[in-house]
C-alpha cells in the first residue's frame, strides 16, 4: 500500500465505528485500490481517496440520522471508541463563536494555501489523470524508432510499418500517418487546413466510429481516389452538420475530392487541431526503408498484454533490422496516453511539489496559532480532565475543532480555486495538452475535502496532543510551567516555515533568472517592428515558376508601395515559424556517404528578405538573377563554417542534389555568393543553426519543389507592425481573392511564443513562493507577538528594574533573529542540495546559483525581522506600573 493510501486507511480506522463491518469496508477499499493500480497508481490513489471521503461522509450522515454502521448482531464492546460526528461538528463550529479572530486567521491562511493546492490538482487531474476519449484507451500504444538513444528521433518507414502491421499478432489494429497541408476553398472562402495522411482502418486503433458517413478503407487509398474524412468541428462549422455529407465533393488545392465521412466528436489525433484526414498518398517515397517519416500507433488486442506486445514487437523489429536496416537501435513501445502528456508531466510535478510546500508552510503557521490558543485554554482543558474526560476524548475534541475549521478553510479554498483555475488557464501556454479537460468537478471537490481534512489533522495534531497532556494539578493551581515549552515549539514551527518558504523562493528565483536569461538571448535577427504573414498558394493555379514568381513579384511590389513599409521579403521558412526544411549538402566532387555529410537548413527567399529581417550581408552580396553566373546561394556563418571549416566559403560550390556514393552532378552545383549572420531557427535555446538561402527566382528555374508550399512574408515597418495587418491582408486578397491567409502577427509575438512555457513556470512558482513567504512572515510575527503578550509581566518587571526600551526591543529581535537565521540558513542549505532537481527547467542558470540563493537569504531575513519589529516595538511600550498592577 502506498504512503497516502496507508494514511487514509488510518483515518478511516479512526473515523469508522469499530467492528467487523468497518474492517471489511477498509479491506474492500484496499483490495479495489490494489486491483486498480494496474491501470496507474496515481489514478488508483485518487479513486481510493475519493471513495474514502464518500464512505466518511455517508457514515457521518447516517450517524446524524440515527442509523448505525455497526451491524445489528454486534453490540458495542465496553469501553469501545464511540464516535459522535454530529457532536464533533457542533464542538468544531463553536470555535467560530468563541474565538472568531483565531478561526478567521486559520480559515484565510488555509484557504489560500488550499486554493493553490486545489488549482494545481485540477490541472493535474485534467491533464494527467483523465482517460483518453477513446474506449479502452489504455490499450493504445505508440511505436517509435530509437535513434542515437533518443526515442522518436526519426520516424518509421512505410515498408517497416507494413511488416509490423502484418507480423505482430498482439495488436488488433495499427496505423501510420504523416503530415499534410492543404488549401481548401468552398463558397469562395479559402482556408489553410492542417491535415494528416493516414493508413485506412485507423479508426479501429481508437475503437471509434465516424460521426457521419463512413471511414476510409482500402478502396479510398487507391491512387487518384482523393477521399477524405473531415473533423467534427469542420463538419459543424462549414457544413452545418449535414448528416448526408458522405459522398459530397469539395475542392482542395483546386482539385475535386470526396468527403467519405466525419471524424467522431472529441477525436484529436494527432492533436485537437486536425481538420482533415486523407489516405496515405501513393508515391515512390513510400518504398524506401531509409525514409522514416511516419508516426505509428497500435491497439493491443484484448487477449494480449502491453508487455507481450512489446516483446513481440522488439523481436520482429530486431529480425527486420538485421536484414534491412543496419545501425538501427530498435523501437520503443509506450502508452499513447503517456506520450501525449509527457512534456507537461514534469512541469505539473514541479507545481505539485511547490503547492505541497505552500500547504505545509500554512499548516505549520496555523499549528503555531492553534498551539497558542490551546495554551490559553489550558485552564478549561484541565478542568475537563479533572472532571473525568479521558485523554483520548480531549484529543478528539481538539482535533475535531481543527478539522472543522480546516474544512471551512477548504470550502474557501475551493471557491477561490475557481478563479485560480481560470487564472492558470489564462497564463498557460496555448499548446498545453488537454487544457479543455481542466475544470473543477466532483473528484476535485472530494480532493479538496480530503486535503482540508488532512490539513486539519496535520496542523491540529500537535496542539491536540499538547492540550491533552497537561499536568493537571499545577495548571489548576495557576502555574505556568508549560508556557515556555509551548513558545519554544512555536519558534520551531516559525523557523520551519521560513526554511520551507526559502526553499520555494530559491526555486522561484532560479526559474525567474533562467527566464530572464532566455529573454536576453539574441535571436540573431531583428524581431522588432516586423510583421509576418503566412500565405498558401494553391499548386494547381500556381504550378509553373512564372505563375509563382509573378505572384511573388506583384505582392512584394504592392507591399513596398504601402505607406509605413521599410522593406519586405518572403521565404519558405521564417525563424520561429513553420515550414522548416533540412537537407544534406555536398561540396563539389565530394561523394555522398550517409552520416558523413552535414545536414543544413534550407530556405528559399525572394525580395529584400535579409534587409527585412535586419540581417546584414557580411561578405559578398545577396543572390540575384545574375545571368553571368546563375545558380547562386547565400550561406550563414554557421553553414559556411560547417561546410568549409577554416576556409573561405565565398566562390565555393555546393549541392543538395545527392545520390548514394556519388558526387553531385555539376549541373546541380550552386555558387556561394554571400555570407550572412547565423540566426536561431526554432527557439531561443537552439544553437545558431546552419542555413543555406536560395534565391527563389534563381532556384525555380531548375527545381519545382516549392510549388504549392506555403510561404511567409516578412515586412519591416515604421512603428507598430500590426497597423499594417489590414492593408497587407487587403493587398493579398486584391491580388487573388481565393488565397488562404493566416497567422498575421508580429515577429516579436512569434519569438515570444517559444518563451511562454518557461515564463509560465517561473511566474506560477513565483506566485506560490511569495504566498509561502508571506505566510511565513505572518508566522514569525505571530510567534513573537504571542511571546510578548505572554511575557508582559516579565518585561514589566525588567523595565521596572531599569531595563531600557532599546534593550527590551533588542531582546525580542534577538530571539526572532535566532529563529529566522536558523530557518533561513536551513532553507538555503536545502535549496543548495536540492537545486539539481530543477536543472532540466533552467537555461544558462546554475541550479546552485549563489547570487540567487544570497538574495533569497537576505530577503527572508530582512523581511522576517521587519515582521518581528512590530511585536518588539509593542514590548518596549509596556508600562511596568500597569502590568504589575494588573497582576
Amino acid at each position: 500500500m502506498s504512503g497516502v493510501v496507508a494514511i487514509v486507511d488510518r483515518i478511516l480506522a479512526f473515523v469508522l465505528p469499530p467492528g467487523a463491518a468497518s474492517e471489511a469496508i477498509r479491506g474492500d477499499l484496499s483490495q479495489e485500490y490494489r486491483d486498480r493500480r494496474a491501470r496507474g497508481t496515481v489514478r488508483a490513489g485518487a479513486w481510493y481517496a475519493a471513495q474514502a471521503v464518500s464512505v466518511v461522509l455517508w457514515a457521518v450522515s447516517d450517524r446524524v440520522r440515527g442509523r448505525t454502521w455497526r451491524g445489528r448482531e454486534e453490540e458495542p464492546r465496553p469501553g469501545a471508541r464511540l464516535i459522535e460526528p454530529s457532536a464533533m461538528v457542533r464542538d468544531g463550529l463553536r470555535v467560530f463563536r468563541r474565538d472568531p479572530g483565531y478561526a478567521a486567521s486559520v480559515v484565510v491562511t488555509l484557504g489560500l494555501a488550499l486554493a493553490t493546492t486545489i488549482t494545481v490538482f485540477t490541472a493535474v487531474r485534467g491533464v494527467l489523470l483523465h482517460d483518453l476519449p477513446y474506449p479502452d484507451g489504455e490499450r493504445i500504444v505508440r511505436i517509435d524508432r530509437v535513434t542515437d538513444g533518443v526515442i522518436g528521433n526519426g520516424g518509421v518507414s512505410y515498408p517497416d510499418y507494413l511488416e509490423w502491421a502484418a507480423g505482430i499478432s498482439s495488436y488488433e489494429a495499427m496505423l501510420a500517418h504523416s503530415g499534410w497541408e492543404g488549401t481548401y476553398i468552398a463558397d469562395g472562402v479559402a482556408e489553410l487546413w492542417d491535415g494528416i495522411t493516414i493508413t485506412p482502418g485507423f479508426l479501429d486503433v481508437f475503437g471509434v466510429r465516424p460521426a457521419a458517413g463512413r471511414g476510409l478503407d482500402e478502396t479510398n487509398a487507391q491512387p487518384g481516389m482523393r477521399s477524405i474524412m473531415i473533423s467534427f468541428d469542420l463538419w459543424q462549422r462549414r457544413f452545418g452538420a449535414d448528416p448526408s455529407i458522405g459522398g459530397r465533393s469539395i475542392t482542395i488545392d483546386e482539385e475535386p475530392w470526396t468527403i467519405v465521412g466525419v471524424l467522431p466528436e472529441g477525436f484529436e489525433y494527432p492533436d485537437a487541431h486536425v481538420d482533415a484526414i486523407a489516405p496515405l498518398a501513393d508515391g515512390s517515397y513510400l518504398e524506401s526503408r531509409g525514409a522514416g517519416f511516419l508516426e505509428v500507433l497500435a491497439r493491443v488486442s484484448p487477449d494480449a498484454t502491453t508487455e507481450a506486445a512489446r516483446a513481440e514487437t522488439d523481436a520482429l523489429v530486431a529480425a527486420i533490422d538485421a536484414e534491412f536496416n543496419e545501425n538501427r537501435e530498435g523501437v520503443a513501445v509506450r502508452s499513447y496516453a503517456d506520450t501525449k502528456v509527457a512534456p507537461v508531466r514534469r512541469m505539473l510535478g514541479l507545481f505539485m511539489l511547490a503547492v505541497t510546500l505552500v500547504l505545509v508552510v500554512a499548516c505549520a503557521n496555523v499549528s503555531g496559532l492553534s498551539l497558542a490558543r490551546t495554551e490559553g485554554r489550558r485552564g478549561e482543558l484541565s478542568v475537563r480532565r479533572a472532571l473525568g474526560a479521558g485523554r483520548g476524548r480531549v484529543v478528539r475534541q481538539l482535533l475535531a475543532e481543527s478539522v472543522v475549521v480546516a474544512v471551512v478553510g477548504g470550502a474557501l479554498g475551493l471557491a477561490l480555486s475557481f478563479a485560480g483555475v481560470r487564472l492558470l488557464l489564462a497564463l498557460a501556454p496555448p499548446d498545453l495538452p488537454r487544457r479543455e479537460l481542466i475544470a473543477i468537478d466532483p473528484v476535485v471537490a472530494s480532493f479538496a475535502l480530503a486535503a482540508a481534512v488532512g490539513a486539519g489533522v496535520l496542523f491540529g495534531a500537535l496542539p491536540a496532543l499538547r492540550g491533552a497532556s497537561a499536568p493537571t494539578t499545577s495548571t489548576l493551581r495557576g502555574g505556568r510551567t508549560v508556557a515556555g515549552r509551548a513558545s519554544r515549539t512555536q519558534e520551531w514551527l516559525a523557523g520551519a516555515q521560513i526554511a520551507l518558504a526559502v526553499v520555494l523562493l530559491s526555486a522561484a528565483s532560479l526559474l525567474v533568472r533562467s527566464s530572464g536569461a532566455l529573454d536576453a538571448v539574441d535571436p540573431g535577427f531583428d524581431a522588432a517592428d516586423r510583421l509576418v504573414v503566412e500565405v498558401g498558394l494553391p499548386p494547381s493555379r500556381y504550378s509553373s515558376a512564372d505563375e509563382t514568381l509573378g505572384f511573388h513579384r506583384r505582392l512584394l511590389e504592392g507591399v513596398r508601395g504601402l505607406p509605413g513599409v521599410v522593406d519586405a521579403g518572403l521565404s519558405t521558412h521564417l525563424p520561429f515559424g513553420r515550414g522548416y526544411l533540412q537537407a544534406v549538402m555536398l561540396k563539389q566532387d565530394q561523394p555522398f556517404i550517409r552520416g558523413e555529410v552535414p545536414v543544413i537548413g534550407l530556405e528559399m527567399y525572394s525580395g529584400e528578405y535579409f534587409r527585412a529581417l535586419g540581417l546584414p550581408v557580411l561578405r559578398g552580396r545577396a543572390a540575384s538573377l545574375d545571368l553571368e553566373q546563375p545558380r547562386q546561394v547565400v550561406l550563414n556563418e554557421a553553414a559556411a563554417e560547417e561546410l568549409f571549416p577554416g576556409e573561405d566559403a565565398l566562390g565555393r560550390r555546393v549541392s543538395f542534389d545527392v545520390e548514394e556514393g556519388q558526387p553531385s552532378p555539376d549541373s546541380t552545383m550552386y555558387t556561394v555568393v554571400g555570407i550572412v549572420p547565423s540566426v536561431r531557427s526554432q527557439s531561443l535555446t537552439d544553437d545558431l543553426g546552419s542555413v543555406a538561402y536560395y534565391y527563389l527566382p534563381d532556384i525555380r528555374r531548375q527545381y519545382s519543389f516549392s510549388s504549392g508550399r506555403a510561404f511567409r512574408l516578412v515586412v519591416h515597418t515604421e512603428g507598430d507592425p500590426l497597423s499594417l495587418a489590414t492593408p497587407v491582408r487587403e493587398l493579398l486578397l486584391d491580388l487573388d481573392p481565393a488565397l488562404p491567409v493566416r497567422d498575421i502577427q508580429t515577429m516579436e509575438a512569434l519569438v515570444r511564443r517559444t518563451t511562454l512555457a518557461p515564463r509560465f513556470r517561473s511566474s506560477v512558482v513565483a506566485v506560490f513562493s511569495l504566498l509561502a513567504l508571506g505566510v511565513a512572515f505572518v508566522g514569525v510575527y505571530a510567534v513573537m507577538a504571542y511571546g510578548v503578550s505572554r511575557g508582559r509581566r516579565e518585561i514589566g518587571i525588567r523595565m521596572a528594574l531599569g531595563a531600557s526600551t532599546t534593550g527590551v526591543r533588542r531582546g525580542v529581535l534577538t530571539r526572532a533573529s535566532r529563529v529566522v537565521v536558523l530557518g533561513a540558513g536551513l532553507g538555503v542549505g536545502t535549496a543548495w542540495m536540492a537545486g539539481p532537481v530543477l536543472a532540466d527547467f533552467l537555461f544558462e542558470t546554475s541550479p546552485r546559483d549563489l547570487g540567487s540563493l544570497g538574495t533569497v537569504l537576505l530577503v527572508a531575513i530582512v523581511g522576517s525581522l521587519v515582521a518581528a519589529w512590530v511585536p518588539a516595538a509593542r514590548a518596549s511600550s509596556v508600562d511596568p506600573a500597569r502590568v504589575l498592577r494588573d497582576e
Binding site: A21, A24, R26, V53, V55, L57, W58, A59, R67, G71
Partner: protein, 112 residues
C-alpha cells in the same frame, strides 16, 4: 410495499444484484455488477450505506469470510438476501408485472 417501511429504487437494484450474485455477493462485486448491468456508478459510501440500511430492515444478512490477498488482513463480508428480502422482491415483481401488463402492448406495438 412490505411492512418494513418499503425500499427505494436503488435498494431494489442492490437486493436484486446480491440475490443474482449468490455466493459471490461481496461489496466490490456488487458495485461492479451495478456498473455493468444497471449502468450505475456508485460511490462506495453510498453503497455501504445502502447495504447497512437493507441489513437493518432485515432484508440482507452478511457472514464474515477469511480475508484474501491485498486486504491488509481485513475480513470480507459475504452478503445474502433473507427470506423477507426475497418476499419483498417477489412483491415488487408482482406489482411491476401488473402495471406492465397494462402498458406493455402499447409500448411494444408503438400504436397510440
Amino acid at each position: 410495499m412490505g411492512g418494513r417501511g418499503g425500499i427505494g429504487e436503488f435498494e431494489h437494484l442492490v437486493l436484486l444484484v446480491v440475490l443474482g450474485l449468490g455466493d459471490e455477493a461481496f461489496a466490490p462485486t456488487v458495485a461492479e455488477r451495478l456498473k455493468r448491468d444497471a449502468n450505475r456508478s456508485v460511490t462506495r459510501g453510498a453503497l455501504y450505506s445502502t447495504l447497512n440500511r437493507l441489513e437493518s430492515k432485515g432484508l440482507l444478512v452478511w457472514t464474515p469470510e477469511e480475508p484474501g490477498e491485498g486486504r491488509g488482513g481485513h475480513i470480507r463480508r459475504r452478503f445474502g438476501v433473507t427470506e423477507a428480502g426475497v418476499d419483498e422482491l417477489r412483491e415488487r415483481r408482482a406489482t411491476l408485472e401488473t402495471l406492465w401488463s397494462d402498458v406493455g402492448a402499447r409500448l411494444d406495438g408503438g400504436t397510440s
